[in-house]
Amino acid sequence: MEDSVSKQPSKDTEASKLERWASIISGGALVLGGLQQRSLRGILMAAAGGSLAYQGVQKKSTLKQVGEAVGIEKTILVEKTVTINRPAAELYSFWRQFDNLPKFMRHVKSVQVHDAQHSHWVANAPLDQSIEWDAVIVDDQPDRLIAWTSTDDAEVNHSGFVRFQPATGDRGTEVKVVMEYELPGGAVAAAIAKLFGEEPEQQIGDDLSRFKQLMETGEIATTDGQPKGA
């Protein structure tokens, strides 16, 4: 398979992508507004540069190429920020331990950590199905940022980053999550679209609320299991 990225005409040079990445991870502006039509994944890949861990990621899966060919490709892009009343270092450490994520991410069933860079993700899908992919960390800045993307062979191209930025005036840490799912079409796309429903922002927002609750109070607020009249 050829490297399809290199064949695509692009206004973005790798250098400009890197510049954008630098501004994304330090800026206060809306990330998705700045991305416009560009792919988060593209910028993340540029950020990863020539790192060995990253080899092969730029190839597109066959499924994705098929999806593009028949024009049913769908991208879900989400950006959500929450302020958490804990130090950035503590939040980063908890998140960086990926097997903690299912504690507050409702749709993530498990994350298996293979090594410092690689992990295997399993998400719940409708009808007792699950969707799995391998992810690789492409940028890791302690107490500040974790960025990841799915590997080449994943059915679902998933990329994202979480950024921890101290809020002004002792107001805790602003935690921003930006995620992108490039759906290849077909059954898997339908399952993921259903997984996220009409409003992926709300689901990511709920996950972040639960993260906040866990970090600020040690538990996640619930009414599941309380009594109710018939």
Binding site: T83, N85, G172, S209, K212, Q213, Q226, P227, G229
Partner: protein
């Protein structure tokens, strides 16, 4: 256990439901010895608060005995007698740390719903719609209390349930309403609504140094109780309160105005009819008759304090008067945790005995009748206390 459940507009029933259990480490289970019906429960009863579900257990004014604690609760033990704030607060978020307990970031599991309505979510409340958490309430034999290491206050020996029960909501609510008036010596405070919150607002205004309080209602026994609390009274069905307030304050208007009526205000005249019709067909969620009067009556540079419950949108707010008279408006669900201890001290010192308000004491089983007489102000009803274990009382 027995619990008072909402099944629809004007349909509350005493159902047998499973006992509550500990769901989170910081939970406690309380055996309820006394619980009250709040005026704000009537907004649920009348079907004006969205996101209620059939079977929801009502009640947010309750107290009782600790029967079980989760592993995260070390300050309470079995048998402790506690009053429980109606607002559920974590104690560690930005807002709780700043004494803004009813704005707790972490206690509403349905925050997304409230965010759609309000932009941001307030704290969860007991028994007050899914929008505000969907927590089972305390008009029941037992209730689960989240963040029990933060909210419940142990009651010192020697105080009866009836003396401390209203620390859970209406006393702090009336007190915060008065505090929001920034009362200065010589001030006159007008209070719309002589229901339970209004009664506490009247007494709190005096505690905080008001020289005069003018109370407005139309129910004779409520006006009489306001008068007993030291207020001058106005019956709005007999006299236009706007004119009267101006005359009674030398043309200046009251320094502060408290709306302790909220979304289901009654009034007279065409604007009142307009609200009733619009609310009935759901074009307007709330009837803001009192709020309009308060803004119109308030002196220039004065304060409008709103403890009354509003849930949604209102029409015809006299914004021109508000701006050109440079008024300040303050509101919010009550930061109960902030007021529990200081108000308990006032009760202990004998400055106030909150039980003056109670007109009806009934077993829990009679809740459906209690809701009806409270709503219709039958039998001179001002405040109902329900006893879930009546035989033991």
């Amino acid at each position: 256990m027995k619990a008072v459940c909402w099944h629809g507009t004007h349909d509350v029933r005493v159902d047998t439901v499973p006992d509550p259990t500990i769901l989170n480490p910081r939970d406690a289970i309380i055996k309820v010895t006394s619980t009250a019906i709040c005026g704000s429960d009537l907004h649920l009863y009348d079907g004006f608060i969205p996101t209620m579900q059939s079977g929801d257990i009502l009640g947010h004014e309750f107290m009782g005995e600790v029967v079980e604690t989760g592993p995260g609760v070390t300050n309470l033990k079995q048998g402790d007698r506690v009053v429980v704030p109606f607002t559920i607060s974590c104690g560690s978020c930005f807002f709780c740390e700043r004494d803004l307990w009813s704005l707790c970031d972490n206690s509403n599991p349905n925050a997304w719903m409230a965010e759609k309505f309000y932009g941001h979510s307030p704290s969860g409340l007991f028994g007050y719609s899914h929008l505000l958490g969907g927590y089972a309430g305390g008009q029941a034999e037992y209730v689960r209390v989240p963040f029990a290491d933060v909210g419940p206050l142990k009651v010192p020996d020697g105080l009866s349930d009836e003396q401390v029960l209203f620390l859970t909501d209406i006393f702090p609510t009336g007190y915060m309403a008065a505090e929001n008036c920034d009362i200065e010596p010589g001030d006159t405070v007008a209070v719309w609504g002589c229901g339970p919150v209004g009664q506490f607002a009247i007494r709190s205004a005096f505690m905080l140094g008001a020289e005069r309080v003018i109370a407005i209602d139309r129910v004779p026994e409520r006006l009489a109780l306001a008068q007993a609390g030291g207020a001058e009274i106005l019956n709005y069905e007999e006299i236009d309160p706007g004119e009267a307030l101006k005359e009674m304050t030398g043309g200046r208007g009251p320094d502060s105005c408290i709306d302790s009526v909220g979304m289901e205000a009654h009034g007279t005249g065409p604007i009142s009819l307009y609200d009733t019709v619009k609310q009935a067909v759901r074009l307007e969620s709330d009837r803001p008759q009192v709020l309009r009067q308060a803004i119109a009556a308030c002196r220039k540079g004065g304060r409008v304090s709103v403890p009354g419950v509003y849930g949604g949108f209102i029409d015809k707010v006299p914004m021109g008067a508000f701006v050109n008279k440079a008024l300040t408006m303050r509101s919010g669900q009550t930061h109960v945790h902030k007021y529990l201890r200081p108000l308990l001290e006032r009760v202990q010192k004998g400055e106030i005995d909150p039980s003056f308000l109670i007109t009806h004491r009934l077993p829990l089983e009679e809740a459906p009748r209690a809701y009806k007489i409270f709503r219709d102000k039958e039998d001179n009803c001002i405040k109902v206390v329900l006893k879930p274990f009546a035989a033991a009382v």
